[in-house]
């Protein structure tokens, strides 16, 4: 069978790739995609731990379902912000979003 550590390694790699996307990309939609990758890595860990350590208790899956809800909420509000910013500034580059700078 596949050892648990393989899943954890894949999740770690996915998380790091997402982190790179969040930090390095200029387009805010691409940054959001990086966040989605990171959330998926978390979910992979949660489900893998549920399966290998506590399959009788559903905590791992419940947490993962909550992460789904949070991810959907985050994508909805985040993308709405990006669209709103685009309307005001005609840009989606995160560095140029300095509305709070007065």
């Amino acid at each position: 069978m596949v050892p648990l550590s393989w899943y954890l390694i894949v999740a770690a790699a996915l998380f790091c790739l997402g982190l790179y996307g969040v930090l390095a990309r200029r387009n805010s939609v691409a940054i959001l995609m990086g966040i989605e990758l990171m959330l998926n890595a978390v979910n992979l860990n949660l489900v893998a731990f549920w399966r290998y350590l506590e399959p009788a208790r559903m905590s791992g899956q419940v947490f993962a379902v909550m992460v789904f809800a949070v991810a959907a909420a985050e994508a909805a509000v985040g993308l709405a912000l990006i669209i709103s910013l685009y309307r005001l500034r005609r840009t989606v580059v995160a560095d140029e979003a300095d509305l709070l700078r007065g």
Binding site: L4, A12, Y20, A24, R26, G34, P55, A69, A71, A76
Partner: protein, 169 residues
């Protein structure tokens, strides 16, 4: 390698390669399509883990809902960020180094952890969706998060409608 291991490696390769394309593609629409493939791969991993509910929910929510939303947002804001052009910051090697260092640290940590190479115990005979429903609904477990999730999504809907609709006036 046994057959399950081969299947796992193939799916994991799909997930990671398409994740690399997500963060490296110059064309933002292509990045979104690679994201969809990567999320499909994660759903397949859930299926391999015998978490069928998580696998289908992953496809319904991520591929069906969030990816649609992302593609719509790209279409609404395209113009200059379409393709070509600089997609990353000038100092992109810095986050790359950071991510690699984090991965190295995590890999070292996972290697040193005891008992992570165990084979999984047998699943409880019961239907896992039933168990999940019972966990979500029973007051001594997660009924509060269940209702709070509803409120969270309500707040997200109201907030996003207000934000996305404000500049039309």
């Amino acid at each position: 390698m046994t057959i399950p291991q081969v299947i796992f490696v193939v799916i994991a390769a799909v997930v990671l390669v398409s994740a690399v394309r997500v963060v490296a593609s110059r064309n933002i629409v292509h990045a979104a399509l690679w994201l969809i493939l990567s999320l499909f791969g994660v759903a397949a991993l859930f299926a391999v883990l015998e978490a069928g509910f998580m696998a289908v929910v992953q496809v319904v929510i991520y591929v069906g809902a969030i990816a649609t939303l992302i593609i719509f947002a790209i279409m609404l804001t395209r113009r200059e960020m379409r393709e070509g052009g600089l997609q990353t910051h000038r100092w992109w090697p810095l986050p790359a180094l950071l991510a690699m260092a984090l991965f190295a640290g995590l890999a070292w940590l996972l290697g040193s952890l005891p008992g992570t190479g165990a084979t999984p115990p047998a699943l409880a005979g019961d239907d896992s969706v039933l168990l999940l429903g019972q966990a979500l609904l029973s007051p001594e477990h997660y009924v509060l998060p269940f209702e709070v999730a509803s409120v969270l999504l309500l707040a997200a809907l109201v907030g996003a409608i207000v934000i996305a609709g404000d500049s039309r006036k």
